[in-house]
Subunit: 374 residues, 4 copies
């Protein structure tokens, strides 16, 4: 998002979600500000523009003191670059070096690809000012409370990235092994991942259990991207063409099916149905994460709580809904073991313990209750 | 331009140019506003949003009291429409009716095309509020000084539109006749318009003088629009293909060439050269407007004064530059006769008498002079 | 159309229409040829490929001896160019020179635009071979019967082109004058052309009659081209926006309306209706060509005879259908006077005298009759 | 490819390559046929059109008796469908059923995706006529010599397809196991596939050897498809972004790298270089097919023999070129074991024993030799 503030050109890239954006926007509108988009990023621009401080770093500190939520920001300000991570460090942001310059990326794999070297993570609550004099570190505020998003390991991040010195692929292998250690009873013929999200955990599970790893579901990468399907029938076919099961391999088999997580449950149900139609005898569904019971308000696009299957059904009910023979989730303790212990994480999607206050959510609820009282 | 202000959705369409936009923008930036475009329209949005008045009409009045320049605005505000014309009424704006609804258009021909009937012009300095209760008139301020743009008759407007009860095509016919009345000496064989801008004036001139009207220059409407030409050579050809002269008709002839106006003089020079290459013996160039000596700051896209040929050369020099045999401009008095007299017009492009102060221009000059003094 | 024949690359551009294409195609299909398009041009390609002659000119002569109809061809054959005009010379084709090279164009204005000089017309029945050795002339066959399309002067050609040493624009001016000479009774206030097709004839008519020429109908060149209108309502509006009448100019007037020709009559009827709604008192419709009673089978895209209004209604009935006060067509003799006499023309659209046999048409009729007999 | 032949509409889809297309085309050109493309399919169209036989099946038989090479054809002829496989059955073609209709597909997975059921393969040398009366089988000629393309198992086909009752994925798993059985000495830490072509063989190798299977190379499916990169630098980056290695996983490791085949060797060399830069200690490269020494003239797009690395270098030289520590190819016998024995295959790419004569190739060589002799 670009704007002119004072006599300066500023643009902001934003990964994350601000939890009091609506509240701040209402105040700014009352104050006579105009909004030309619905992005929470526009709130940050206004706060920086309205700050009475004299230099840009102080203006940013002033602005961000009012902001709650998850944000990794890369700001270009005239010819300087400013990188910022919120005091909880919920979303990732890393600093690299290439030739004489600095490079910023959400993930370390971004550095690898352009042959840059990893320097360090931007610290939670840190502001980095990069200009032709070099690099300088400032902080947003005193309070820092590290709670990096645990879900990045499970689904979001690329396997060839590292966070907190932990490789994502290895974490997923560990998760697969841990899944087995938590319940060793399993007489499946083969282990089948849901591609591509369940691949690494299934490899780990196979390694730990000795049950052969096999690719029983084929994902067609060419379908459903390039073509915009004008008719519903064609759209359905495109979805179907995305996953195809290997009939010959699966007929009459008892399988362990591994996916990274279950959100709504609808995709899992479709895959189970495809497998059963292919003649699979028994399906033991193992989920490479704990049950998701809370929505994310920090930048992961999860649905409302009412649509999270694990929030509205118990284990037995989910098993029945998916029509699988057994269903196993990873435990939260197991997850922390797999990532080398709990060094401070946000695990609200599994626990509903939200480390940063959900201002807009709370106000919305209060309004609804007031309406009810009236 | 769309924005959210207070809790309301507002969008503005703007015909014209604000002469203190830069000055106002600097103040708004200092006040902490952010600008996401370079359009002067964004200034109006900020002023409305910052007004402390309680209803939208008062907010708009408050905002426009600060604004100088030419503006015809159509604002949609939630589900209301607000039409506004600046106190000088420099740019046109008309109100029509169709079925049970109201219609707004810059020109009356816009109403004809959709079978709407003409109601009246929006008055200079008037604010019209249109909603489901009907239509209501307000005024921007007390001071009204009608100075409608005289150049609309000469070039800008469509011939089938009317302003101030004067038909544009008829005005151009009158201008052609007036051109003849101001100088009756003419032994040309034929009268040739530069298409399409000189058509009506040439018809009027032919009628008054008795010299036959002929189409000697063909304009190819298919060329130079649909195709984006990647190479300079092709672009030159496209320009050339836009006008082609009828060799057979013109060879050995003495002609009166009529165009609506001369701005830089470069296009006129090219056309004269095409005609001479076709074997035209003598060219008497008649211009259907007075000499343009001042830039327009009210919405007509004219170049800087230094590039206006009539501002830097006298009549004799222009004639020599164009390589024509004689050159005649319409007089200002003649122009007013052709439009039924001077009922209050802006003719600054012919006189440099600017009816609305050019704040930004004046400040720019002062800055340059200060820099020189230092 | 491109093809490989023998070991050679050949491509053909074709202006015209072959009147025994269907007959020839049936024979070629029976002979084992495959057709990959519905263009009559593909027939010529096959005939050339199948010729047993030894060089390309002889092969072409051999092929074209079988072909009936109108064709101006430009063939590229490996690195040679071959220009051909049918023995009747129905469609135009001219040869020009630029620098050291030759240029071919349907019309002379094409030469003007690229600054080439006109050499001469390609003669009816002539084959021109252009290669690095220069230019050489051959003939298709002995029989030559010049019948150039008279309709090119009336509508098809650009006004700045010349055919048979006659300028098209001048021909149209002459036509307008002739229209007046054939019927001098006329008390209209003004002469109005249907733009752009009736422009030149209306100028000629005005000059001869002394009735002032005025532009009462505005054609909007921006509409209906760039936009593909998805809804019928929008398409109707686009059509309507193409022509707008100047209300102020026309109200209460008695007018002479001039168009180049009437084909179906539907467009003329719409324009008459627009004018009447604008308050025109009387409409005298003058048509700058004789009545069209025959379809063209030589390359002009006219509808079936049953849809030609002058073929199914008499003068009085057409006048009533169009709802005009008087209706006048140009006489055929008048048309020939306007183009400097009948030097050999095809005027089948006005006379149904077809100079080249309509083989496919005749066969189609015979088949229909046989079906009836059975 | 569509054409009209006789009075009929015909279109042909063609998988394969005709080995005497050039020879046939020369004869057809001499016979007066025109060619509008460079596709060998156009030759078949001409041969069918020129056949003197009376019905379409006989015409096709007549035509295909002249054609040598690999072809699976689906022809639509008016409202009938005709499916054909060459007498060697080199390229695949299967027949399925859905509801009351028949379905044709190159591979069985195409049937699965639309929920059709597999009926049977179209037999080598078979012609199937499908119309509203049902399905009928004809044969091209008496001589049938089954030589299905063995390379379909290795690279071409989708893993979820079956040929000759053999599942492709399982064949690849078997190949991986066989690779281990042919050389059991291996002290690598992990087995790494080149994605996605080496995946299944690597899983098989891991299972047989007990060496853990790991995903060390990440393929980014989003890159290099949607974007057309205008600059070389960006194109290089796009290629680089296609594969990224997981640094953390690979550093200091001794690995077994598995790919399906080596053609030119250039891609393999790049991947080896990426791995070495990531700190891999030792690379044992295992190739899931025999060495490719012959070009394919039957529809697989392989380069000229001179560019096939195994045709110009011996094992030691290839190992040195790739800079790997050891290099192992699968044996031809091993390949046949993996696909349940040699039931008749074309393995010319590994043996240069071409089962169908290479007419065009032979004629080309003879011409070159004649030129040398002269």
């Amino acid at each position: 998002m670009y704007a002119q503030i004072n006599k300066d050109n500023i643009s902001i890239s934003h990964n994350g979600n601000i939890t009091n954006a609506h509240y701040l926007k209402q105040n700014l509108l009352e104050d006579g500000c105009i909004f030309q988009s619905d992005m929470d990023t526009e709130v940050i621009l206004h706060l920086i523009a309205k700050s009475k401080e004299t230099n840009i770093i102080e203006k940013i500190q002033d602005a961000l003191r009012k902001v709650e939520g998850a944000y990794s920001l890369i700001i270009t300000y005239n010819d300087e670059i400013i990188a910022i991570r919120d005091p909880n460090g919920i979303r990732p942001l890393v600093l690299g070096k290439k030739d004489n310059g600095f490079v910023l990326s959400s993930e370390t794999c971004g550095l690898d690809i352009i042959n840059a070297t990893f320097e360090r993570e931007v610290d939670p609550g840190e502001i980095l000012l990069i200009n032709d004099k070099g690099i300088k570190s400032f902080s947003i505020a005193n309070k820092v409370n590290k709670t990096f998003c645990i879900f990045e390991y499970i689904y979001f991040a690329r396997p060839d990235s590292n966070f907190l010195n932990q490789n994502v692929y290895e974490a997923r292998i560990n998760i697969g092994k841990q899944l087995y250690l938590e319940n060793k009873k399993n007489n499946s013929d083969i282990v089948i991942p849901v591609p591509d999200s369940g691949l690494a955990s299934a490899i780990g599970y196979s390694e730990a259990s000795g049950i052969p790893f096999q690719l029983g579901i084929i994902r067609n990468h060419y379908v459903g991207r390039s073509f915009i399907q004008p008719k519903q029938e064609l759209r359905d076919l495109a979805v179907k063409m995305k996953h195809n099961v290997n009939l010959k391999l699966l007929q009459g088999k008892s399988i362990t099916l591994i996916d990274d997580s279950i959100v709504r449950g609808t995709t899992s149900k479709k895959i189970v149905s495809l497998l059963k139609n292919a003649g699979v005898k028994k399906i033991h569904f193992k989920v490479a994460s704990p049950a998701i019971i809370g929505s994310c308000y920090y930048g992961v696009d999860t649905p409302n709580e009412d649509n999270l299957i694990a929030n509205i059904k118990n284990l037995e009910e989910i098993k029945d809904y998916l029509e699988v023979d057994t269903l196993q989730y990873l435990s939260l303790e197991g997850l922390y073991k797999a990532v080398n212990g709990n060094q401070g994480y946000c695990d609200a999607c599994f626990t509903k313990k939200y480390p940063v206050p959900l201002i807009d959510q709370t106000l919305k609820k209060q309004q609804k209750e007031q309406i009810k009282l009236v």
